[in-house]
């Protein structure tokens, strides 16, 4: 079963990067996920200052704005999609993720299955 691990950075530094990040730990985690044979996909997102928001009104008008900036406390910093047998396994992988440390958190969402 596929689960998405949404990696939320807690505190974001002035320059928009996650305040706490240990590059070595991320490299090790990424390797562990891939070695375990559960990796489906995953990306780390570029800094929030690079984000652009698009909205389309009911009459089709497109609004493009810079941001969103960190109005909310938690900012999506990246994700993994993993394929594991059950929620307990997914929670274990989420707990091992460096993004779960400190002020960060990892939200585990099952990927919807619309049947084969």
């Amino acid at each position: 079963m596929k689960y998405m691990l949404l990696i939320q950075a807690g505190e974001v530094a002035e320059n928009g990067e996650a305040a706490e990040s240990d590059f070595g730990a991320w490299v090790a985690y990424d390797k562990a996920v891939k070695d375990a044979g559960i990796f489906v996909s995953g990306e780390s997102l570029a800094d929030l200052v690079t984000a652009t928001m698009v909205r389309v009104s009911p009459d089709g008008e497109r609004t493009v704005t810079d941001g969103p900036f960190a109005e909310t406390r938690e900012v999506l910093g990246g994700f993994y999609v993993i394929d594991v047998p059950d929620l307990d396994a997914a929670l274990d992988w989420a707990a091992r993720c460096p993004g779960a440390l400190g002020s960060g958190s990892v939200v585990v969402r099952p990927v919807a299955d619309f049947g084969v």
Binding site: M1, P85, D86, L87, D88, A89, L91, V108, P110, G115, V116
Partner: protein, 417 residues
């Protein structure tokens, strides 16, 4: 005139409450789906209710129920190919996670309820739903019964249980017993759910006599099942012991009008000696063979109260020592409050008051009526009556249930005379 048939049906239903959890757990293990298992469990029990009074109870009732339920499940899967495909897929995945269980050699039903305990108490479920689910799946209560027990409308409870079951299915919360390495992390969560069912019953049973299920007794039943399933876990013995030792005082803890009667005024002759003896044996188990856990220590404290003939002859030094141990295990201001009250009994009210004053700034005690109530009791014992009255009034404002308020009003009246 007694309706004998209705009596018969009621007793058969009582037998099924015990079988229900076992059957459900075995079917969940087999089919990997709680909804399907529940459906065919009820169908098998309905079939038994219809057939057994006519045909007689079969020689192996458990096996009969299991066979009937399994047949219904197979029928259902034949009709519903999509469900069958999904469950087949689930089975493959489950076996990827752990090997299939060994078949029971003598063909009897292996007891699979432990995994269901862990599923119902899974931390990924909302805390308020865990107890409801446990009562539904393991105590065999119907949804309206669970609703009545928690004093919520049946539709609300049905929604909560449906939501919890949906999460179990859609997020695939597994039906499995955590491995030895995970057990220390997960077992306290299971015990917590059982104990919260117990305390919920304890608080609510002090209300006006309501026609409702006795949650404390349901919790004790769940505790007994867990004790059988995990005989080596000393905290399980501690929890069951604690519940029995507290529940032993049930008849003495409310007055004729339903008001709360605290330990110091209870008629100890009305305590249940059999239950106390059973609880005490469990305390011995809980405290032997390693460092004690919080339930074992709380049970030991309850046992010391239960064993003494009066408040004055209670072994307060020992109780304070146990609270010291408990406070180290569970550093909570509520434990500190209880410890302060025990210190007051050992060293006098002034000593207790000094400790209570140290706790004055605790955010978790703000709004917790036992705190001003304990202060009021100690203040009145040292003759500071106006301060005591103010503290009783503060407790009265915070107390949730009418019986608790009645008790506080009585104490307030006593010092104002």
């Amino acid at each position: 005139m007694r309706d004998e048939r209705a009596d018969g049906v009621a007793s058969v239903e009582a037998v099924f409450r015990e079988e229900h959890g076992r059957l459900l757990a075995a079917l969940v293990r087999r089919f990997g789906d709680l909804d399907l298992a529940e459906e065919v469990t009820s169908e098998a029990i309905e079939a038994a209710l219809a057939r057994w009074p006519v045909d007689g109870v079969p020689p192996k009732p458990g096996a009969w129920l299991m066979t009937t339920a399994r047949r219904r499940a197979v029928d259902r899967l034949r009709r519903d190919q999509a469900l069958a495909a999904r469950l087949a897929m689930l089975r493959v995945e489950a076996e990827r996670a752990e090997p299939p269980p060994a078949q029971d050699a003598d063909g009897g039903l292996p007891d699979e309820r432990l995994q269901l305990f862990f599923t119902c108490a899974h931390p990924a479920l909302a805390a308020e739903d865990r107890g409801a689910l446990m009562l539904r799946c393991l105590a065999g209560l119907s949804t309206p019964e669970v609703a009545r027990a928690f004093l919520v409308p049946p539709e609300t409870m049905a929604k909560r249980i449906t939501r919890a079951k949906k999460k179990i299915r859609a997020a695939r919360i597994p039906f499995r017993v955590p491995g030895a390495d995970e057990l220390p992390g997960r077992l306290p969560g299971v015990l917590q759910v059982v104990y919260s069912i117990f305390t919920e019953g304890y608080v609510a049973s002090s209300g006006p006599r309501l026609q409702r299920l006795d949650l404390a007794e349901e919790a004790i039943r769940l505790g007994r099942i867990l004790r059988r399933l995990l005989p080596a876990e000393r905290e399980v013995a501690g929890l069951l012991g604690l519940m029995l030792l507290v529940h032993a005082r049930r008849d003495a803890r409310s007055g004729p009008d339903g008001e709360v009667v605290l330990l110091d005024e209870q008629d100890r002759a009305r305590w249940d000696r059999g239950m106390i003896a059973e609880g005490r044996d469990l305390v011995a188990v809980a405290l032997t063979g390693g460092p004690p856990g919080p339930y074992g220590v709380q049970a030991a404290i309850a046992a010391l109260h239960d064993e003494s003939v009066s408040l004055d002859t209670t072994d307060w030094p020992q109780i304070v020592a146990l609270y010291d141990v408990l406070l180290a295990l569970v550093p909570s201001p509520i434990v500190a409050l209880n410890r302060a009250v025990a210190v007051a009994m050992r060293d006098g009210p002034e000593a207790g008051l000094a400790l209570l004053d140290e706790l004055a700034g605790e955010p978790r005690l703000r709004g917790y009526h036992p705190y001003p109530a304990a202060r009021a009791d100690l203040l009145s014992r040292v003759g500071r009556f106006s301060e005591a009255a103010a503290a009783y009034r503060q407790a009265l404002e915070l107390a949730g249930t009418e019986p608790e308020r009645a008790h506080l009003r009585r104490r307030l009246d006593a010092i104002e005379d």
